[in-house]
Amino acid sequence: MSHQPGHAIYARREFFRRTGVALGSVAAASLLGQLAIPGQVFADGGGLTPRTPPLPAKAKAIIHIFAAGAPSHLDTFDPKPVMEKFADKNLPNHGGGVGFPSPFTFTPSGKSGLLMSSAFPKLAEVADELCVIRSMTIDVPAHGPAAKMMHTGSLIQVKPSVGSWTLYGLGSNNRSLPGFITLGGSAEWRQAAFLPSMYQGTRADFAANKPVDRVLSNLRNDFAAPDAQRKQLDLVSQLNQDHLARFKGDEQLEARSESFELAYRMQTEAMEAFDINKESKETRELYGKSDMGAKLLVARRLVERGVRFVQIEAGGWDHHSGIFSALTRTAGAIDQPAAALIADLKRLGMLDSTVVWWGGEFGRTVTTPGRVDANSGRDHHGKAFCSWLAGGGVKGGMAYGATDELGYEVVENPVTIHDLHATLMRLIGYDHTKLTFRYNGRDFRLTDNFGQVVNGIIA
């Protein structure tokens, strides 16, 4: 059980001492080359040491674009032409209100002919990379709990974020950046909960025109020139070595010493990672000048540097009224950046190893209160909605699952949030039932006691 210099930034022995830490099942734990005592599993979570997952997988990172507010599936990725027949007609069995055909048009796009809404002209250009899931369902169509469910697999209780589980499963591939970074969004979407806090998402306060040294806390030093700080760090290192000699190479001391070197590198590397000015003019134009464009470009730069999970909130989808103009605007904000992200990842050969995941917390009603006009909108609806995935080993240019002819209920291949989470874990190489953590006398996992991998979308 030798220490691997430069890798474990978490003291392994400390991990052993803490009975709470268990990287999963017999298999997962032993894969890490550690003893497993099942039934009371201890394992070296390895801290943030990069790990090879137990199952073959392409994806090494996930970018989650969370469409907060719950986008209408009917106006984005689940066209329902039949609804034209029910325009302005009472539909009491579909939640009341009158039938509301989508004001958007749908065009077969790409070689696959995937039907794309006129709200997403740019995204249509990468339709062949998209795997649209049209059969998502959720029980509680209320923003708070549903968004939490989407991020943590739990409506109410405090559970770790899917990003934390991803980092827990994969470790970090970059020793100078946090492995799970969020660019906005609620604190509970990035929480590590009972996982060790190193798996918590780090919030980067990034915006297009914000100085990069303000993006992470304490990234910037206002008190010493870099050369002087290097000298100072050499001194710290010397002091630590002498101290360490007195404790015969204690791992936690070594780990802490090493973390200072990481921090030093992080100052330059994080600033570099968040600095989109380092990109070519062409690339910057690809993503567009908007804040969202900058965020997705940064997401790509982070993943490129080994960050495992990037979370971006791209909200504004709660279109209770005036959906045509409002959704056009909201979709417009993400259309070019998302299309650029996919094209850019592909161009760089990174799409295969990166899952791009877009979606909101539920869907919207097939009807509108009153009558169909420019002011019409759609209310909350949980029985059916859409998400899409691209890259990372999912099939492109396809739509999975189906709703009924009006888009009210799922009639084919329903996908719950637990199923989606299970699939994401599978894409990064984990059986979701085996990536567990012992807490409070129980082995917890992202998918609670549920979830089935959606094999139909895995290439």
Partner: protein, 970 residues
């Protein structure tokens, strides 16, 4: 390497750690083997289904013991001789299972799990009677922690190393394992260790000198007494309990959809509970009393109004709130059971506990207790402020806000009532139309109820409450239930019935206009109401003026008219809502329901109470409901699936066979006394285990909030019991417990590592050395502040912002804790998550911590302040300066080599190429920091840290702060 091969190797290796008798073994079966049997074997080998292929059944233990046609299936302990294993591993010459059509050979890890299971003796709890896993077995009840605390004899052993009885236990066990303990640590080391342990701060140079000079045998005991008498002791140990009590200054529920009563997610004075805890430790309040007060201080026989002990009830109320009341109850059950008893009762909310002897019925026995309490509106003041000027200022500001609140509230309500009276017909008609019908839009438009006011319309419709019994709209409600096509025919009779209903009298003015009508449609009735409300509107101004203006006598308006004027919002008289608490009780419900809460001043009032130095402190109390009811069991945790009613009572397994239902109110006091009963096997153990953990670095049981069946076995069970028995015999005195532990050689030995023992017992479970420990977040921050010479030693009071500039120099325990989002500093340094009891801190090492030491203004500030300390500025030479810094920071003198290193750095860092260059970023005022939204809306007074380069000596001081020695205690 093939990962699966490594997997099975690991399993083989681990096998020795388990035996069949262990509950871990059963747990292993439940987790790995039972599901495997169900998935892969029972289809053909299930006795209950008469499926006995090859004569073998695998649904019970006796099934495989007896075996099938080929003999016993398993030889416990010997997988290679077990037919079952051979068959599954495909090593048997003839039989291979499962058959191909059932999926063929199992995955390697499953086969490995079977091997493991057989190796440890094939533990299998299935005796043919129990079909599902619960903790209700005799085996679970026999778990050591549920047995009475014993008072084992102290081992008879003589050795000069031994200081007290603890050492006799430890040394005996070490010797039995061929090991020996370390000699005592050096005095400087010991003083640093015990000072951080007891007060969370480092010792001063004077204290070191005094201790080193004191050659008497009681020198260390003297130190311990000094520290136990320090007011900082309670701050240190109180914080440990606050981790267990999931202390937070917020309720963790910000947008509550109008359901929750709190005006602000920040509690107005959670800090009185925090201070109560600190004082309880400082006064060495007996642990049993401490627990009782936290559950039921208000019900103690000797409690008086304004008694400071009432603040103890914050234990219940500083928890997280949820929209669902059952979740709040669950949160409280979870906290009580983990923090006080070290069992995980909330696992039994939906099913009998899987491992511990806690049936679902016991959960609902406690549910009954917490379901019968409510939070008080009228909170007792338990902390008074002495500064008269501040108090006067606070009262004046509160009066202004309260008055503004009243004006705003009545202003909103006047407008809202006027709006209703003007559009009553539209509202009444909308109220009876299906929510999404197209007709609705037409009506809304016709009456000027515009879609953009959708939320407001919805709220008014909600307030209408079309109930048959309602004195104003009851008749309309009744008529609305008549089908449209029968309306003309049935309405007159229905109307007569409504107006003659003696039980639910109709408002006389409403009755007057409706009597004798023969309406053909409901809309006609709505029109009649509209005319009536229009008349009421004409009388409204005078009535409302009188109602809304304080000091005016109650309006003389006819009661029936008054009822119409204030429909659908019955409003309190301004004279009855003089204080902000009365306003809370009266306005808030209405304002929350009609979404006008944002226009009121409740948040501002709360902010004033939370932050104004003249504001008193309130105890966040609960009271029992007037009539207590038992709860029924929610089947599978679902409220609508009612199981049997269970009497309010304590957990059966901890009641020593004498459980009685609670009879006094909610039963809180009875529950508290049952928890604090000396016969309860868990309560004292939990307290002792945690104290041991904080002193030694690891508890006897390593999971301090769960001593149940799933916990690791204590390495020193006899010592643990002995110490627990002494704790109770000493009157539950925490300070006596500290003395006992600290005066042992076990505690005082050095942390030196010995390779041979390291190999034998790497986790030091047998205690052959002291543990090397890293300072926690509070100790780190407090040390930084203290070493800069600026610690504000005030004990208690309102919370401060400990994370943002301008920095506070209060101790970290006084930092505001927001469970909705801990500050970066708290998260990065493993602060206990206040979501639930977390008595043990995690201990992570991430680069963000290093960035804090290297770059944060707090670290630079501390380094600068350090160089201004008198000991440092008075130093006659550079060498003496280095010595002073070492004494302050590390409580020891530097070696010659360390001095050389220091002086080398000073020379080097003083060279022009370093001093000339500027920091990477431009120095200057940290503007955008100042503008930032402060943590939880709290800002300290004070100045920002100056953004100028550190001088070489300051750089050096900062390096000493960054170094490991600063944050480790050995």
């Amino acid at each position: 390497m093939n990962p699966l091969r490594r997997g099975s190797l690991a399993l083989l290796f681990a096998a020795g750690a388990l035996t069949a008798a262990d509950s871990e073994g059963v747990a292993f079966f439940e987790k790995n083997i039972r599901p495997l049997f169900i998935d892969h074997c029972l289809k053909c080998h299930d006795g209950t289904q008469n499926k006995t292929k090859g004569g073998l059944t695998l649904d019970t233990r006796s099934g495989w013991e007896k075996g099938g046609d080929s003999g016993p299936a398993i030889v416990p302990g010997q997988p290679d001789k077990s037919l079952l294993y051979q068959v599954l591993a495909f090593t048997h010459a003839e039989i291979q299972m499962p058959p191909k059509k059932e999926g063929g050979k199992l995955a390697d890890e499953k086969i490995a799990a079977v091997r493991q299971w057989i190796s440890i003796g094939a533990p299998d709890p299935r005796d043919g009677k129990h079909t599902k896993l619960t903790g209700l077995s005799d085996e679970a009840r026999a778990h050591w922690a549920y047995q009475p605390v014993q008072s084992p004899a102290v081992p008879e052993i003589k050795d000069p190393w031994i200081r007290n009885e603890i050492d006799a236990f430890v040394l005996t066990k070490l010797r039995a394992n061929g090991m020996q303990p370390n000699p005592l640590a050096a005095k400087e080391v010991l003083l640093r260790r015990v000072t951080y342990d007891l007060i969370g701060l480092p010792p001063t140079t004077d204290e070191i000198n005094a201790f080193v000079a004191d050659k008497s045998p009681t020198a260390f005991a003297t130190v311990v007494e000094r520290l136990l008498a320090s007011p900082h002791y309670g701050e240190r140990w109180g914080r440990h309990w606050l981790d267990s009590a999931r202390y937070s200054d917020t309720i963790g529920l910000k947008s509550n959809g109008g359901k929750y009563r709190y005006e602000d997610y920040r509690l107005r004075s959670a800090w009185t509970y925090r201070d109560y805890v600190v004082q309880a430790f400082n006064s060495d309040k007996p642990w049993n009393d401490f627990l009782v007060e936290q559950l039921a201080a208000d019900q103690l026989p000797d409690i008086k109004p304004g008694d400071p002990r009432l603040a103890a009830l914050g234990f219940i109320t500083v928890g997280k709130r949820f929209d669902n009341p059952d979740d709040i109850i669950d949160e409280r059950i979870d906290t009580v059971s983990k923090a006080m008893l070290g069992v995980t009762v909330s696992c039994s909310r939906c099913h009998d506990h899987k491992f511990d002897p806690i049936p679902t019925a016991d959960y609902y026995a406690l549910h009954g207790v917490f379901n019968n309490i409510e939070e008080s509106y009228d909170l007792p003041e338990v902390v008074q402020i002495a500064d008269a000027a501040q108090v006067a200022d606070y009262r004046a500001k509160l009066a202004t806000l309260t008055e503004q609140n009243r004006t705003a509230f009545y202003g909103v309500m006047r407008k809202r009532l006027g709006d209703f009276q003007d559009r009553a017909e539209g509202y009444l008609r909308l109220a009876v139309i299906n929510g999404r019908s197209p007709e609705r839009l037409q009506i809304a438009e016709a009456y000027g109820l515009h879609p953009e006011n959708r939320d407001e319309i919805r709220e008014v419709l909600g307030a209408l409450q079309l109930r048959n019994e309602h004195p104003v709209v009851g008749p309309y409600a009744r008529l609305s239930r008549i089908p449209e096509d029968q309306f003309a025919e049935k309405a007159p009779a229905a109307l007569v019935a409504a107006l003659n209903d003696k039980k639910n009298p109709v408002n006389p003015l409403v009755a007057e206009v409706l009597r004798g009508l023969k309406p053909r449609t409901l809309a006609e009735i709505a029109r009649v109401y509209a005319i009536l409300f229009a008349k009421a509107a004409a009388e409204a101004p005078a009535h409302l003026d009188s109602l809304f203006t304080p000091g005016q006598p109650a309006p003389s308006t006819d009661a029936a008219l008054a009822e119409l004027i204030t429909f659908p919002y019955p409003l309190p008289d301004a004279d009855d809502v003089v204080t902000s608490d009365q306003q809370m009780a009266s306005f808030q419900k209405i304002a929350l329901e009609n979404k006008t809460i944002g226009e009121l001043k409740f948040t501002a009032i709360n902010h004033l109470r939370l932050t104004h130095p003249g504001s008193p402190g309130w105890a966040l109390t609960v009271v029992d409901k007037a009539k207590a009811n038992d709860s029924y069991v929610y089947i599978r945790g679902e409220k609508n699936k009612k199981g049997p009613v269970v009497p309010r009572s304590f957990l059966e397994v901890l009641s020593g066979g004498t459980r009685k239902p609670f009879t006094q109110g909610s039963g809180r006091l009875e529950l508290a006394r049952a928890i604090a009963d000396r016969a309860n096997p868990l309560t004292a153990r939990v307290a002792v285990n945690r104290a041991w953990m904080h002193h030694v670095g690891a508890g006897f049981v390593t999971t301090p909030d769960d001593l149940g069946v799933m916990s690791e076995k204590p390495a020193h069970r006899e010592l643990f019991d002995w110490l627990t028995a002494r704790f109770v015999a000493d009157g539950w005195s925490m300070k006596s417990l500290h003395r006992r532990i600290l005066l042992s050689a076990t505690y005082q030995q050095s942390a030196a590592s010995i390779a041979a023992f390291e190999a034998k017992d790497p986790d030091n479970r047998l205690l052959w050395r002291a543990n090397l420990r890293r300072l926690d977040m509070e100790a780190i921050r407090d040390s930084l502040v203290l070493l800069g010479g600026r610690l504000d030693r005030t004990v208690g009071g309102q919370p401060v912002n400990i994370s943002d500039e301008p920095y506070s120099y209060r101790r970290t325990i006084y930092g505001f804790v927001d469970r909705l989002g801990l500050s970066d500093l708290m998260v990065q340094f493993d602060f206990a998550d206040p979501e639930m009891p977390n008595s043990r801190r995690t201990n992570t090492t991430v680069p963000q911590q290093a960035l804090f030491f290297l770059n944060s203004p707090m670290a630079a500030d501390a380094a600068r302040a350090l160089m201004t300390r008198a000991e440092v500025t008075a130093a006659a030479s550079d060498e003496a300066r280095v010595q002073a810094l070492y004494r302050i920071l590390y409580q020891r003198g530097p070696s010659a080599q360390e001095i050389t290193l220091a002086l080398g750095f000073i020379t080097e860092a003083g060279k022009p190429e370093y001093t000339r260059t500027k920091p990477a970023t431009k120095p200057g005022a940290p503007k955008d920091n100042a503008d930032k939204n402060k943590y939880a809306g709290l800002t300290n007074l004070g100045t920002m840290v100056e953004r100028t380069p550190l001088k070489p000596w300051e750089m050096y001081a900062q390096a000493l702060i960054c170094a490991n020695e600063f944050v480790y205690v050995n």
